[in-house]
Symmetry: C2
Subunit: 199 residues, 2 copies
């Protein structure tokens, strides 16, 4: 396991901002970061949390904060027509690509996130995920085939279980040598932790 792990759920708008920001904040250290999409739904059932955007007061604040944070960093942002959406197909596609190349999987993750929260496209369905893959040059049919493989389904389940066992309960969530940092606002702190060895 890499010393820096970046956990996110493809249906999480803060995860999208985190994915856009983490490469900037970690700069030269970005290549050592292991990206791990997970399914937060199972974890939210554990913590009893409702999806953020549905909570009174907090949900309205989150919408405003997301747009404000995106503007601050010059990141295009909008909500897809269907939100929250099922992120299982996107996460499986990630792991099917990461078997061969973690770097290409990271590029796919960014492309999927940008399709969803940059352009408002649907990425909930396998076909829509394969469309994003095709945009990146993957053979659409082979791509679809691979994301359905049983060992890929198992991998996603295992990564989600593993994340929960490590205390991950939100998106984005970064661990640095096991030290947990929750939220896009804590990326700088996580980077400082990596640089200094902690305090």
């Amino acid at each position: 396991m890499s010393d820096v792990v970046f956990y996110f759920d493809f249906t999480s708008p803060y995860g999208y901002l985190g994915a856009e920001r983490i490469g900037v904040v970690f700069a030269g250290d970005a290549p050592r970061i292991a990206w791990r999409p997970i399914l937060l739904g199972a974890i939210l059932r554990e913590t009893g949390a409702r999806p953020l955007i549905e909570v009174p007061l907090k949900g309205a604040y989150a919408r405003r904060d997301l747009e404000r944070t995106a503007r601050r960093f010059g990141i295009p942002f909008r909500f897809p027509a269907t939100f929250p959406f099922k992120s299982v197909a996107a996460a499986r596609a990630f792991y099917s690509v990461s078997e061969e190349s973690p770097e290409q999987a990271r590029d796919l993750a960014l492309a999927l996130y940008r399709a969803a929260f940059g352009e408002g496209r649907d990425i909930a369905h396998e076909g829509a995920v394969a469309d994003v893959g095709a945009d990146l040059g993957y053979d659409r049919e082979a791509f679809l085939e691979r994301l359905k493989a049983p060992h890929i389904k198992d991998r996603l389940r295992r990564e989600t279980d593993d994340a929960m066992a490590r205390g991950v309960f939100g998106s984005p969530f970064v661990t640095v040598n096991g030290e947990p940092f929750w939220g896009v606002d804590h990326l700088e702190e996580a980077r400082t932790w990596l640089e200094t060895g902690g305090w």
Copy 2:
């Protein structure tokens, strides 16, 4: 109403860190900040949130994050034996002092917070709050008398209702010309908003 309002609940450990940090982060602008203790319990019932510290996974993370943030900024931190605790007496004491001097009320708020989360003392009871007042030189009996005044009880209720009407749902919470910022991690952003007029 001041252009910068700092909302907090005396039973909120993040509110304590916010109270210690806001004067540093806002530096020369700190005197223009209006401090407003509120009772989050009523608001949490609205948002359906459980007290943070009791939530699985998130509660354990919050304890770690609180201690880590306190260490980072050199702020003494511990939990009082009884936590969460009733913060109504502390908030009433604040408003009874603020009638005459907002500056002295701010000093009292810091003294109460430091007693609770710096030294782990009880500040739930009127007598305990009056002890902190006496430490600052207030006449204990007069102090006790004033915090029980009906118009002070009304003031706290009104401030809490007003905060909720303005979208406040957590502690600490800062508004800058009405723009909302939630959390001790957003104080710098709030300060930048004040300086730049927003983005």
